[in-house]
């Protein structure tokens, strides 16, 4: 019945259509609509041409330029020497580290890009590591830098884009306290008699041990994917893993360069897990990238071109050596070159959190 009525009404409209058109034509509306229809297909081209000369819609680069600020997310959990814990200085509260120096480089390059009339000020948003991704997706940040590994499976959430690496010689490493753990792993390498297979040696060597990794970091993803026979403890931060006494942790997995720094300068009771010849044991290679959102094409090209130029000029290598190899006091560097920050989504009394066993394995 409803279908029948619809057909009737369509028939009646079709019958009356010439009459309506005649009426509108006498008012000059039809010629206008026809003209508009003919013009519309070329409208996009005209729009593009105009935008080339004078950008109509503000893209992310012009937004940064007009704002005069680069909103950068940085992790509150310290990833020394990439991000040191915030300290108090004569200038106020400051953070420093390789990642912070890189942010300065990006801001300086943006100042030049924006015409150099006013400096682009990097505004650091200190937030929990896990919240960086949320803050980015919610549009509160232009980019974030926190020794983020971009080439480990599962590390790239949808909608985010990772730059070319600014740090290549990374990788996942391990630190231990008990020498017998190192002996177990080395024994596995000896069994391999020259046919080195790190993954197999690690899987057998760490079997049955309690291994800690920081939630959401690449070491966590590595352990979840590759180390089935361990008791995996997921910690909110690296200091939380170090502080945990019950259960007793045998191995802590994290980025090798971070572990190298903290075993030398922060937690001397811990040592790097090494191969039989004393060289550091890298479980898998990893490179660090700057992260922004998928849609920011102009910013992405800007970042990649900048990182390539910094690599070409040797500036990145100098920065890496400066933070990873030189002997220095981070507090002094924070005073001289650290950046102030805004705190978002961090409780007033920040604690490094806790550890708990992974449930679904």
């Amino acid at each position: 019945m409803i279908v029948g009525r619809s057909i009737m009404s369509i028939r009646s409209i079709t019958r009356r259509l010439p009459h309506y058109l005649k009426e509108l034509g006498s008012q000059g509306i039809v010629p206008f609509l026809i003209g508009l229809g003919l013009f519309l297909p070329g409208c996009g081209l005209v729009f593009d041409a105009v935008e080339l000369v004078q950008p109509l819609a503000r893209d992310e680069m012009s937004a940064i330029c007009s704002r005069g600020q680069l909103r950068v997310g940085i992790s509150v959990e310290p990833f020394r020497p990439f991000v040191f814990p915030a300290v108090f200085t004569d200038e106020g509260v400051r953070v420093t580290g390789l990642d912070v120096e890189l942010i300065r480089e990006v801001a300086d390059a943006l100042t030049t890009h924006c015409g150099g009339q006013k400096p682009i000020v990097p505004t650091l948003h200190l937030t929990r590591f896990r919240d960086l991704f949320i803050e980015m997706n919610e549009g509160h940040l232009d980019l974030f830098v926190s020794s983020i590994g971009g080439n480990v499976p599962g590390a790239r959430p949808a909608g985010l884009w990772y730059s070319i690496p600014y740090f290549h010689n990374g990788g996942i490493g391990a630190m231990i306290q008990k020498p017998e753990v190192a002996e177990r792993v080395r024994a596995q390498f000896q069994h391999q008699a020259g046919n080195s297979d790190t993954l197999a040696a690690i899987q057998a060597g760490l079997s049955g041990l309690t291994v800690a990794a920081q939630r959401g970091r690449t070491s966590h993803l590595y352990a979840e994917a590759n180390l089935k026979n361990i008791r995996l403890l997921i910690c909110d931060s690296l200091p939380a893993a170090v502080e945990t006494k019950d259960p007793r942790i045998d191995v802590i997995l994290s980025k090798h360069s971070i572990l190298d720094y903290v075993t030398k300068h922060v937690w001397p009771d811990w040592r790097l897990l090494t191969r039989n010849d004393g060289t550091p044991l890298i479980l898998t290679q990893e490179s660090f990238s700057i992260v922004t959102v998928e849609e920011h094409r102009r910013l992405q090209w800007f970042l990649n071109n900048l990182l390539y130029r910094l690599e070409e000029s040797g500036r990145l290598e100098h920065m890496r050596r400066r933070w990873l190899e030189e002997d220095y006091a981070p507090t002094r560097r924070a005073t001289a070159e650290g950046l102030p920050f805004e705190v978002s989504k961090v409780p007033a009394h920040y604690e490094q959190g806790q550890c708990r066993f992974a449930t679904e394995r």
Binding site: P85, A86, V87, F88, T89, D90, V93, P239, Y350
Partner: protein, 262 residues
């Protein structure tokens, strides 16, 4: 009668002129004396205010120093060293040292001091508030929230809000922003040759329009962990130790109060 009168009037005139001279002189003297007294009072008040300000900043530094073990305790998250706790300790210590209650300023205090002491206390509290994230980090030991960094920030915040400038300075500053100007350098050299004392150097410069005061700070035992021996070896914050001894001159709190802007 008029003739007699005229004779008398000559004498009178002489007498009157003498009396007039004496009265005029005494008037001029009185006026001069009262203007000296009028100028003297604000000068004394300004000098007193400078002393109180230096003392209050020093008390703030002392409270930060006393709480170093708590602030740098890596096992604790919330240290409880809030701006209110800091204020309470500062008020108590200030009463102990001066018998002046910062929460109920006495009427005899110079009006300038009544205006500026609460402002410095508020600025100091704000510095402690700004540092809460750093202070309450668990798992982190040394945080560089020390008397020197606290003092620099409190002095800067206060100076930005008033016509009075406060600065910590020393002959060999770790932070170049604390480099002494010519006046301060001269004063620090004088203080360095004198035996340790709480007495400030106070002087009026630029035709008595600006008060400059330098209150010495001496190294205490706690300071020597970073500023003592072995000289040249880096301390925890990465600066070379100065090789200082307990009681040596560490620097001074420099205060400038312009008279005109009152």
């Amino acid at each position: 009668m008029p003739f007699r009168n005229r004779k008398v009037s000559k004498k009178d005139i002489l007498m009157k002129s003498r009396v007039f001279s004496v009265i005029s002189l005494s008037l001029v003297f009185n006026l001069a004396w009262s203007s000296i007294g009028w100028a003297q009072a604000p000068r004394e008040e300004t000098e007193k205010t400078a002393q109180h300000l230096a003392l209050l900043l020093n008390v703030g530094r002392l409270i930060v120093e006393r709480n170093q073990t708590l602030i740098n305790d890596p096992r604790k998250g919330d240290k409880g060293f809030t701006p209110e706790v800091f204020e309470h300790e500062v008020v108590d210590e200030f009463i102990r040292q001066t018998h002046i209650d910062l929460k109920d300023l006495p009427t005899h205090l110079p009006s300038l001091a009544k205006e500026l002491l609460p402002l410095l206390l508020e600025s100091s509290k704000e510095v402690v508030a700004d540092a809460q994230l750093v202070i309450n980090q668990r798992g982190i030991g040394y945080k560089n929230f020390i008397p020197a960094t606290f003092g620099s920030q409190a002095a800067r915040k206060f100076s930005n809000r008033s016509h009075v400038k406060i600065k910590q300075t020393t002959l060999n500053p770790r932070n170049l922003k604390n480099t002494p100007d010519a006046y301060e350098e001269n004063g620090l050299r004088r203080l360095a040759t004198q035996p340790a004392s709480d007495t400030s150097i106070t002087e009026w410069i630029d035709n008595d329009t600006i008060l400059r005061a330098l209150t010495p700070i001496y190294y205490s035992k706690d300071c020597l962990a970073c500023h003592g021996n072995p000289k040249g070896i880096l301390d925890i914050s990465g600066y070379p130790r100065e090789g200082a001894q307990e009681g040596d001159l560490a620097g001074a709190i420099s205060i400038q109060i312009p008279m005109k802007s009152r």
